[in-house]
Amino acid sequence: MRPFHYTRATDQPAAISAASAAGSKYLAGGTNLVDLMKEDVERPSTLVDITRLTLKDIHPTTNGVSIGALAHNTETANHPLIRQNYPLLTQAILAGATAQLRNMATNGGNLNQRTRCPYFYEVGMPCNKRDPGSGCGAIGGINRMHAIFGWSDKCIAVHPSDMCVALAVLDAQVKVAGPQGERTIAFTDYHRLPGDTPEKDNNLAPGELVTSIEIPKNNFAANSYYLKVRDRSSYAFALVSVAAALEMNGKRIKQARIAMGGVAHKPWRALEAEKVLIGKDATEANFRAAADAEMANAKPHDYNKFKVELGRRAIVRALSRAANGGAA
């Protein structure tokens, strides 16, 4: 690992000031950043330790719940407010990583974790995300784990988070603070598609710090499900995952929210599928029609063509389980 300067921030303004300098990075749980530094992918000159900041609170708001950026994944998933009202978020968090990692990882860090594309991780390979302009090793390479939606000719990496797939469905808002003050970003605008600048994972400005994630009230708690399909039954990144949330009126679907993980550079909100379901009955035929509508736009690569049919079936199964109160 390359040498860096370590500084511990005692308050938020000091943290933002220190992290606004070129080459500085925030350090929270470190589960991804420290690993990337060991791999020589991340080379910060300064780490600003923000673990002592008071951004750990999870509390009810007038319109829902606020979860602190520095609350750990474990506390968030198991908080009674989250389990009762947003079990989809609990399920998605618990689908990711391992207990040890979730005990360390923070909510803000989960949003800002980087892709696990092996070409991004291997500094001997070209990668436009790691080294802009060097090319993309995954295009024409081994791209089994890569994107089928929204990719560009510069990058086909996927965002690795499970938690963020649920947050995309829950219409969350991300509160950030930076050198220019505070602002709120809609969750689906937080992460970005690669386009010509895949080195940018999200729309944070330099020095901006995630302070909390706000989740509005909804009527999805009784009918939601997070399905994760992976190469082994635990501790693996998603080949395809689906967060499905339904608001039911008897057998009729009043509202539907669907997002997919493992398929794009950001959590992929399946808006085409959602449109198909509004006002329809919760039947397998309707779920299949919704899945077909979404997957019609998929553009796979040489090694991940299987994700199209897998994604179709995963949408149908996740919707079926959501409609059935989470049970099989």
Binding site: P3, M37, Q84, A97, T98
Partner: protein, 262 residues
Amino acid sequence: MNEDLINKVLARDPAEDPHQDISEFGADRRRFIKQISALGAALIAFHNLPTLSVFARELGSSATTSAGGVGLADAVNVRFTVNGSSQSLSLDARTTLLDTLREHLDLTGSKKGCDHGQCGACTVLVEGRRVLSCLTLAATLDGASVTTIEGLAHGEGLHPMQAAFVKHDGFQCGYCTPGQICSAVGMLDEAKRGDASYVTADLRTKPAAVALSNDEIRERMSGNICRCGAYPNIVDAIREVHTGKNVSQTWQFANGTREVGE
């Protein structure tokens, strides 16, 4: 000194080669390999200079006394508690908790398996919560309390989880075992406070405590890899401690007995 070594290697007269009586090709090849090796060693030493200088400083200062004001670039002072004993160290900012334990405090029970957070062999308890020491920078732990495998036993008396691993033969080579045991201890505390896992059926109601099925134990322990494949015995050991009830062993000695330590 490193630059001197590099210059010496580069400037060496080929006529000095002791193998010049060997055929030209062989001599060139050997000389080339020797030069490259020496150059490589010099470059590696040069690259690691900051680390080496910190190690050198550490040797001169007791691990139990404050080494504050050492004046190293990128050094951090860390005071924390490990297995009940307070420690004050001056460390290179890059030092992980795992390397601090193994290289600075002589606590080699925690193992370095992958060093990338993928195997769980380095699992320790920080403030009672299981974490990966290989991805934890020691600098972040100022004021924290750490428990390693060495801190679980009371003298010669094994922690119940250690005793259960022995009884159920929950290991073969033993390399993953300290991490497995620390992880299992942390995991049972999580279950006691009602935490859920991905295989928990009812997420919406948080119970006072969770009764763990074998599937629950497996899912909750998925961060600890055992390449010997001792998983069934590890699950038995954890189930015995979790339930407080005897779980019968699935193995016996060649003479038909099962008692350990007789």
